[in-house]
């Protein structure tokens, strides 16, 4: 932690960056806590305030979302340094890959990670019931895209089979049962678009959901429109989603959006051997092709 704070202090004091985006402790009430708990994103502009920065297993938020170039109020502060876990760094790589950010316009402070909790109000000790679904099998505990790396490598996170079980349960169902499950889950969607707003990879200036000439998706939260919206978003994230699960956390209805993203990511990995990469020069799978891609489903 001190390493992180020192680094932040020196980056700010030297003027290398104008703001360090990291995590800080929450002061004040946060449900369902019995008192002040959890972490939240932090924006440190003054080197003297660098002690606010913390990093531990409560730091689940994906801060890459703050690098969206259309967040004018942040762009206007000046060049940022961002604290990124290995998984978050893949999101930053995605932004660079897709031309939203130039590599030299951000300083990446990688942190070595031992897994995070599902909700920032949990932890900081990491137990199987509380570990995030995405931490199992993580290959990025040592960040692969960074300017600096801080922290010692903690032990790997406890593995949780929660998500694999959920996916297996779905696969065992008949198509009709799965359809009932998804129709029920997605009909609860109120189209608040929190999932879209919070996603680092959803940065389209005009989202297809907002187009009305022609209108592709019902804008009202009808079941039909919700199914179309979530299908579309999952497809637009194919090969780009880094599985940060911010969408699932942001959803006020508790819809299991992570399952959709994970499934599409598994399909992409199986068929095209690709996983959202921390290397910005690796192209996104739907933007390239191989002449020998499988076409067993085409007659």
């Amino acid at each position: 932690m001190n390493e992180l704070r020192e680094l932040a202090r020196s980056l700010l004091a030297s003027g290398t960056v104008k703001v360090v985006i990291g995590y800080e402790n929450v002061e004040g009430a946060r449900w369902p806590a019995e008192g002040p708990r959890g972490v939240r994103p932090s924006f440190v502009t003054d080197p003297a305030q660098a002690d606010r920065l913390v990093f531990d297993s409560r730091c689940v938020q994906n801060l890459a979302a703050y690098l969206n170039p259309r967040r004018q109020h942040l762009v206007s502060i000046g060049k940022p340094a961002v604290v990124v876990k290995g998984c978050d760094a893949r999101a930053v790589a995605g932004l660079i890959r897709e031309g939203q950010l130039r590599r030299e316009d951000v300083v990446l402070i990688g942190v070595r990670c031992g897994g995070v909790v599902r909700d920032p109000a949990l932890g900081p000790g990491l137990i199987e019931e509380e570990v995030s679904d995405r931490c199992g099998g993580c290959e990025d505990r040592e960040p692969k895209l960074f300017d600096h790396v801080v922290g010692a490598l903690p032990p790997p996170p406890p593995s949780s089979t929660r998500r694999a079980d959920a996916l297996a349960r779905l696969q065992k169902m008949t198509a009709a049962e799965r359809w009932t499950f998804w129709k029920e889950s997605l009909s609860r969607c109120v189209r608040c678009y929190a999932c879209r707003e919070i996603c680092p990879m959803c940065f389209c200036v005009q989202c297809i959901a907002d187009k009305n000439r022609p209108q592709w998706l019902d804008s009202s939260p009808t079941t039909r429109g919700n199914v179309a919206w979530h299908m579309t978003r999952a497809l637009h994230q194919a090969g780009r989603c880094v599985d940060c699960l911010e969408c699932e956390r942001a959803c006020p209805e508790g819809i299991p959006l992570g399952l959709l993203g994970r499934h599409v990511a598994q399909v992409v990995e199986r068929r095209f051997g690709y996983r959202a990469s921390a290397d910005p020069t690796v192209p996104v799978p739907l933007g390239v092709y191989r002449t020998d891609d499988e076409e067993e489903f085409i007659v």
């Binding site: 009909s187 299908m231 739907l286 891609d293 489903f297």
Partner: protein
């Protein structure tokens, strides 16, 4: 395996599926045209929508078709390597692969969707694709499970 059109039409039940076919202009559309000029018997259940290339076909077209009452969808383009625009169908192939698996994951019977490569000279193949799809979708029945317009989950 081709199922002659007469079997499809005279099956006796009231349900006639609506199948929408999104086809590429250069290969499949021409192939379909050939099937027509050759007077091949094809199921009348399929309505063709012409696009410049299979790569133009967005999953949203297919979703929209289901929303608007289609019971089945056909998506067809040039064989890989023969795309009029050189590479369009390679991209389309990847996109449709993912989309199809997502549909299956959500619980849509993938028997309702057919993907094919039909070239300009393959009139009989187009006949096959059309008839097979129509009879398969007819057997699956109307796609009533797809949410209707205005249907909402909460009271």
């Amino acid at each position: 395996m081709s199922i002659p059109c007469t079997e499809v039409a005279s099956a006796g039940t009231a349900f006639e599926p609506k199948v929408v076919a999104f086809v590429c202009n250069w290969c499949t559309y021409t192939g379909a045209d050939l099937a027509g000029t050759s007077r091949l018997k094809m199921s009348p259940n399929v309505r063709i929508i012409r696009t410049p290339c299979s790569s133009r076909i967005s999953p949203l077209f297919i979703i929209k078709a289901f929303e608007r009452g289609a019971d089945g969808v056909i998506v067809s383009g040039c064989h890989t390597g023969d795309c009029h625009y050189s590479t369009g169908n390679y991209y389309a192939r990847r996109r449709f692969a993912i989309f199809r698996e997502l549909l299956d994951f959500l619980g849509v019977d993938t028997g309702r969707v057919t993907f094919s490569w039909v070239s300009a000279s393959e009139g009989t193949k187009w006949q096959q694709v059309v008839n097979d799809t129509a009879s398969r979708v007819k057997a699956l029945g109307p796609f009533n499970e797809y949410p209707a317009q205005g249907e909402v989950g909460r009271p």
